[in-house]
Symmetry: C2
């Protein structure tokens, strides 16, 4: 079993985690969360999305949040840009990386963004070109790579097809996402292997949801293929919109605990990370959706 | 990665899961739970313990529960027997297997059962001999094989030492237990490898707690060494007495979901298993401590 000695984490909590909160979380709280994440050692943070406030009012404060962050050298701030209008608005905020997205399932693509997978990639192509021309990195989030709420199982061929389209429009690295958390280790490995047809291992991020409690086992399976970039959300922020009341993103705390326990470096201070998760969880009035955070907070309380 | 094609599960919910419930769960509910577990396809169930009711009033109904079960051919019922008195009381209940226990950590042994590891094994020796003479199988639960609430890390040598003592007194198979759930995949593999010095792979059961959310990743790591016997608790019954409010036993539902997703046979019907977990969780007035159960129950509720 050859494992990476270091893992790079992207915390998607401020964006992916908070985009469904009602009422929206105020900008100063989001900024406070980003500050605490970077204080804990996170060096990549997905901060916000530049999407129409009519669709996602929770992210209407995108420019305010990006402007309010006291940037740290060595930390990369990324934003989601669904189209050219969003990208143009994002540029002024000086993100290090923009994120475009596509689904490995046609049904999900149609229901989620109202067009085919191929059409979505055509629409993103000018955004990607504009970003690269402006010296901004581009990541492609590939959703439903192991399961789809409408189609069920997703084939390796579908994942490879999407990865190929992403590569073709100029995306530099991709997330292999288990959007509904139904994946198990061998299925996740198949999705990663399909992605490897178009991207090398250094340009593949694992993004696993914990809806069925499988995220850490899936992470282990991905590590065993050599994946060393992963996404997670502090305090497990962000539910699963396709399973009401169910867990979504795997908690960064749980992931960091496993990695450190395996002797894998992350550069993250787990105690400070738990503080960051407690800060936002306190604001939201609920417990962190993280076994590790709860165990550590219980221990602290004696 | 060579994986077993079949996994044998032991549900410890009725015993390990319910032994700390206050007030005690009535015998008829325990019996109902055992019936639902065997209806779901569980073929090994840890039913109760024959321990002094002064110490564990929750298990005072041990004989009533054992007598009340409508036994199914092919299902094995095990009970915990801490001493000769307990064993003699247990015999009339005709268990297929008794369970004795020991810790890989001296501090835990002293604090938990008030004697050294070696003394505990000496005390268990006559119980083991009596069981074998009566044609009853013997399993040895090895606690704290990856972490101890008092000593922290536990060495592979300590695990091997305990496994050797277990073998010496006649124990036929052992549980490698992560009692406080602090283990991570490589540490769990080390504990299993240490146990392999004295027991072959067919006589080693994995018993992982989910306190830090690591149980399924640890299970995957154990499967990769060839372990094919695992313990779990329906609905994640049983908290962690060493971390107040924290999760204890991994939920059988979560484990079965992962195994089936990997194409590994268990003989268990996941939907009926969720029903069994919902039955006991409803009685206890709380949600199942299982991501899979919650996701499936949410789906059923639409």
């Amino acid at each position: 079993m050859t494992l990476p000695s270091r893992v790079q984490l992207i915390d998607v909590g401020p964006r992916d985690g908070l985009q469904n909160e009602k009422p929206p979380v105020p900008a100063e709280i989001k900024i406070g969360l980003v500050h605490r994440l970077q204080a804990a050692g996170l060096t990549e943070i997905e901060v916000t999305s530049f999407v129409s406030p009519k669709w996602v009012p929770q992210m209407a404060d995108n420019a305010v949040v990006m402007a309010g962050i006291e940037r740290q050298v060595g930390v990369r701030y990324s934003v989601l840009t669904p189209n050219m209008v969003g990208f143009q608005a994002a540029v002024a905020s000086r993100p290090h990386e923009i994120v475009v997205f596509g689904a490995a399932s046609q049904a999900f693509s149609q229901k989620n963004i109202n067009c085919s997978i191929e059409e979505s990639m055509e629409r993103f192509a000018p955004v990607v070109q504009a970003a690269l021309a402006a010296g901004i990195a581009v990541r492609g989030a590939m959703s439903c790579t192991v399961g789809c709420p409408y189609e069920g199982e997703v084939s390796a061929a579908s994942v490879a097809h999407l990865a190929g389209l992403m590569k073709q429009i100029g995306v530099q690295r991709v997330d292999v996402a288990d959007t509904i958390g139904t994946g198990t280790p061998l299925k996740v490995q198949k999705a990663i292997e399909a992605t490897l047809q178009h991207f090398d291992i250094d340009h593949i991020c694992g993004h696993f949801h914990d809806t069925y409690g499988q995220a850490l086992a899936n992470t282990l399976a991905a590590l065993q293929l050599g994946v060393w970039n992963f996404q997670s959300s502090v305090a497990g922020l962000g539910g699963c919109p396709y399973a009401k009341g169910a867990t979504g993103n795997v908690a960064t705390e749980d992931l960091v605990y496993m990695l450190h326990g395996m002797g894998i470096t992350t550069g993250i201070d787990l105690d400070k990370l738990v503080d960051a998760g407690a800060f936002i969880s306190d604001f939201l009035g609920r417990k962190p959706n993280s076994n590790v955070a709860q165990a550590i907070l219980n221990k602290r309380a004696g």
